[in-house]
């Protein structure tokens, strides 16, 4: 057992876990943040994507101990109170989800994509960048639409700040 100290969604936490614990299990089982999903558990589907120190990574492919001292943001940490993050709002408005299982990972990856590409996003880039996220409903069409929509909204939001 080890004590892992990290910041999750802005809150400092200290958790005792077995060394073999994956970050996704620390989030779900120790912190009850069940928005982050385990889909394939083989590092392929991206349902478990969270931000670690600002980078969208697969939390099923990282030991909890590796995140010690890091700043982690999960899907629960995106909205500001009742106000959805522009990416979440765009997914809702564009019907970017069907069963919803892949959605948290899709949104966390998508936010990272917009941060990296800024206003230069086009459909081809979004499709290429979403390679690490699998939607088993095959609802990609509206997911891509939502990401492009959100990219515009995030630009506006940034300009207003």
């Amino acid at each position: 057992m080890s004590t892992v100290k990290l910041t999750v969604n802005g809150r400092a936490v200290s958790v005792d876990v077995e060394d073999r614990t994956l970050l996704v299990h620390l989030l779900r089982e120790n912190l009850n943040l069940t928005g982050t999903h385990v889909g394939c558990d083989t590092s392929q589907c991206g349902a478990c994507v969270v931000h670690v120190d600002g980078r969208a990574v697969k939390s099923c492919t990282m030991l909890a101990g590796q995140a010690a001292g890091s700043n982690v943001t999960t899907i629960e940490g995106l909205a500001k109170g009742d106000e959805l993050h522009p990416m979440q709002a765009a997914f809702r408005d564009n019907h970017g989800l069907q069963c919803g299982y892949c959605t948290p990972g899709m949104i966390m990856s998508a936010v990272d994509i917009v941060h990296r590409h800024g206003g230069k996003l086009d459909e081809e880039t979004v499709r290429h960048e979403l390679e690490g996220n699998i939607c088993r409903c095959t609802g990609y069409h509206n997911i891509v639409k939502a990401v492009l929509d959100a990219a515009g909204r995030m630009k506006v939001a940034q300009a207003a700040e």
Binding site: S2, E18, D19, R20, L22, D41, T42, S43, Q44, G46, V49, R55, A56, V57, K58, T61, M62, L63, G65, Q66, A68, S109, D112, I113, E129, E131, G132, N133
Partner: protein, 266 residues
């Protein structure tokens, strides 16, 4: 995953010392291969020693005719480095095609080379560019480093610290990506060194891991152009055959990816 003990190394020397104490230690870099393998219970190290936070192992330096990438530098950083893009654009391109974005944020060049997966991308660049793999003990030439499937010249407990790539006159990389795993079904790296030598390496093709391709090297020596490979035949003997592609299919891919790599070379 079986139980294990996690250690975060405070230095390369500390990592080596901790490694020696465990009964079956493993170094952990980005963990994008080791952790999935541990989850499948195909590996059960007593101790994992995390190298990924060691600042002495992270960074990219370009000086004169050499690009040096420290071992724990993630693929994403290599792909985005202006210095690498300028000196060896093919290397930045190769890094940008490994796995998916989340994997590229975590996976490292040192981890990729130490694992030496027969379908990994970096081994092709290291062999074609004639890079030198530096460890905490010595320098190993690309020719001496790769020893077949998942096998390298690294001794137990030896740590890759950096990889030094000579800047070529021209280089290109092309791969047929497996549509699900993004590994190279076959990838070919072509390089024209500053002294005029031609070196070509293929990954994902051979049963013995990354390999030089003399037939393509000779053809390109005579004429550096994609069409120079039209008449080249690659033998299927010793090539990988699996559900994804037969040996004959891969033999053809070596040629076609070679042509695309030459066309893309800059």
């Amino acid at each position: 995953m079986y139980e294990t003990n996690y250690h975060r190394a405070s230095s390369v020397a500390d990592a080596a010392a901790t490694f020696a104490k465990g009964s079956e230690s493993k170094f952990l870099a980005g963990g994008q291969t080791l952790l999935p393998v541990m989850k499948q219970r195909l590996a059960s190290p007593s101790d994992v020693i995390d190298l990924s936070k060691l600042q002495e192992l992270i960074g990219i330096e370009v000086s004169g005719d050499t690009v040096t990438i420290k071992a724990a530098t993630p693929h994403y950083d290599v792909s985005q480095s202006d210095a690498v893009r300028k000196a060896i654009p093919a290397l930045a391109h190769l890094a940008s095609m490994i796995g998916d974005p989340a994997v590229r944020y975590r996976g490292t060049i040192g981890g990729s080379l130490a694992n030496n997966d027969p379908a990994a991308d970096y081994p092709a660049a290291v062999l074609a560019l004639g890079a030198t793999v530096k460890t905490n003990k010595r320098s190993i030439s690309a020719e001496d480093f790769f020893k077949g499937l998942f096998s390298t010249a690294l001794e137990d407990g030896e740590i890759i610290t950096q990889v030094a790539f000579p800047v070529p006159a021209k280089a290109g990389y092309a791969k047929m990506r497996h549509p699900a795993s993004r590994f190279a079904l076959t990838g070919v790296f072509v390089a024209q060194t500053k002294s005029g030598d031609i070196r070509v390496a293929a990954t994902g093709a051979s049963q013995s891991g990354v390999m030089r391709v003399p037939a393509i090297e000779q053809a390109l020596k005579a004429n550096w152009s994609p069409s120079a490979l039209d008449s080249v035949t690659i033998s299927a003997s010793g090539l990988l055959a699996d559900i994804h592609g037969s040996a004959d299919y891969r033999a053809n891919l070596v040629k076609v990816m070679g042509q695309r790599a030459v066309a893309a070379a800059s």
